[in-house]
């Protein structure tokens, strides 16, 4: 599959140069998850990063005596998994496929090695991920506002 098909329109990487997409594609493979299948467990070593192509992934956390608490769901084009980027490289939350899900999985060990070796590749990739992360942070902050609550309860 061509790099553009993997990381094209609707993914955070769409803005990267063709040459960088080619490199990215060499670390990528398509994977699928059945409904209910875990991508990763909270606390486990963080390896891998996924761009959802179809389906839906929930980010969750363990709650004693309850089903895992879902903090967020991620759909097509969205990135799942950040903890591989920074030490201590352990998953902070878990992730599970809510519906049958197709994703592009990145070999993050490779990616990190290439990025460290060649900042002219690493920097735009990191900036792309940062932009996505910022959007996620802003949405989370918006949710903290509890805008739909009754005004006097907020």
């Amino acid at each position: 599959m061509r790099a553009r098909d993997l990381f094209g329109e609707g993914t955070p990487f769409a803005g990267l140069a063709e040459s960088h997409l080619e490199v990215l594609a060499r670390a990528a493979r398509e994977v699928s998850f059945a409904e209910g299948q875990r991508l990763f467990e909270e606390g486990a070593p963080a390896v891998g990063c996924w761009v959802v192509r179809r389906g839906c992934v929930a980010v969750d956390t363990v709650l004693p005596g309850q089903a895992p608490g879902v903090v967020q769901t991620l759909g097509p084009g969205q990135v799942v998994g950040w903890s591989w980027l920074v030490p201590p490289y352990r998953w902070h939350f878990g992730a599970v496929a809510v519906t049958p899900t197709l994703a592009v999985e990145l070999d993050t060990e490779q990616l990190r090695a290439w990025a460290e070796h060649d900042p002219s590749f690493g920097y735009p990739v990191a900036m792309t991920l940062l932009a996505t992360l910022l959007e996620r942070l802003q949405a989370t902050r918006a949710r903290l506002l509890d805008l739909y609550g009754r005004p006097h309860e907020r």
Partner: protein
């Protein structure tokens, strides 16, 4: 029809359907005379005897022929509490219609993207109903609804019906899921970043708390949708509905007159001026 726009006409509550624990949908039937027909996005002033009067957007199907009105009301103050509690048979004073509409027909031959947050779905429901009634006029119809929890979603049964339709896409997202929730979890801006959109031919209709609309507009601008293709419905203190009482000013706008539905290109900069 009444000649004096300050004079209410008596309507009677013919149906009362609770939507959530603090929100009720009322159906009002004219006792005798009817106000002129509303367009989606417009509002009426509803008066409860001896309590007061508040602006409420129309939330129902506007193609009904008996002149009846549908309003969805959330109890946040004295008048809305009285409206929510009004049993079938209560006489309500109605003035209107007031303000600008969503002008759905101008979105003809574009994708219609409807984004609602919380009670914001109520004024947008007539847009969805009108688009479905003349489905061939529009390209894709996408509805994104955000709510605090699944229990806070309005028109739950209708949303499920719409979600099953082939000719529209429905994305429901909540801030806080409850057990058994199968939809999205996240702020209503998030689907806007991943939904397949055609920025050059999309008309967006936003309604919800003002910050939510601002954030959604930003998300849509990032996707390449122009400010002029984004419409939103504003809320301010409105008492007359005629641009004469002065309460609803937002900078140069009289929201009851120039709005409530306005173009984001015209108001985007105003919305971030503190205490305007």
């Amino acid at each position: 029809m009444s000649g004096d726009p300050l004079l209410p006409l008596p309507y009677v509550v013919t149906d009362r359907a609770p939507e959530t624990d603090d929100t009720v949908t009322l159906r009002l039937k004219p006792v005798r005379l009817t106000i002129p027909r509303l367009r989606p996005g417009q509002f009426t002033m509803l008066y409860v005897r001896g309590v007061g009067e508040i602006p409420i957007s129309i939330s129902g199907n506007l193609s009904v022929v008996d002149g009846s009105l549908t309003h969805t009301v959330r109890e946040v103050g004295a008048v809305s509490r009285a409206l929510c509690a009004a049993p079938v048979g209560t006489v309500i004073g109605v003035r209107g219609p007031f303000g600008t509409g969503w002008d759905l027909p101008s979105a003809c031959d574009t994708d219609v993207l409807v984004v609602a947050g919380g009670l914001g779905l109520a004024p947008l429901r007539p847009v969805v109903l009108a688009a479905l009634a003349q489905r061939w006029r529009y390209r894709r119809l996408i509805l994104v609804v955000g709510a605090r929890t699944p229990d806070d979603l309005l028109y739950r049964r209708e949303l499920d019906e719409w979600a099953r339709r082939e000719d529209m896409a429905v994305v429901l997202t909540v801030d806080r899921p409850t057990q058994g929730w199968r939809g999205q979890v996240g702020f209503v801006t998030e689907p806007l970043s991943w939904l397949a959109l055609d920025p050059s031919a999309t008309t967006a209709f936003l309604c919800g708390p003002e910050p939510m609309m601002r954030f959604c507009a930003s998300a849509l601008l990032r996707r390449g949708i122009l400010a002029g293709q984004i419409r939103l419905s504003l809320e301010r203190n409105m008492q007359c509905g005629l641009g004469q009482c002065g309460h609803c000013q937002l900078g140069p706008l009289l929201v009851c007159w120039d709005g409530p539905v306005v173009n984001y290109a015209a108001v985007g900069a105003l919305l971030t001026i503190k205490e305007l």
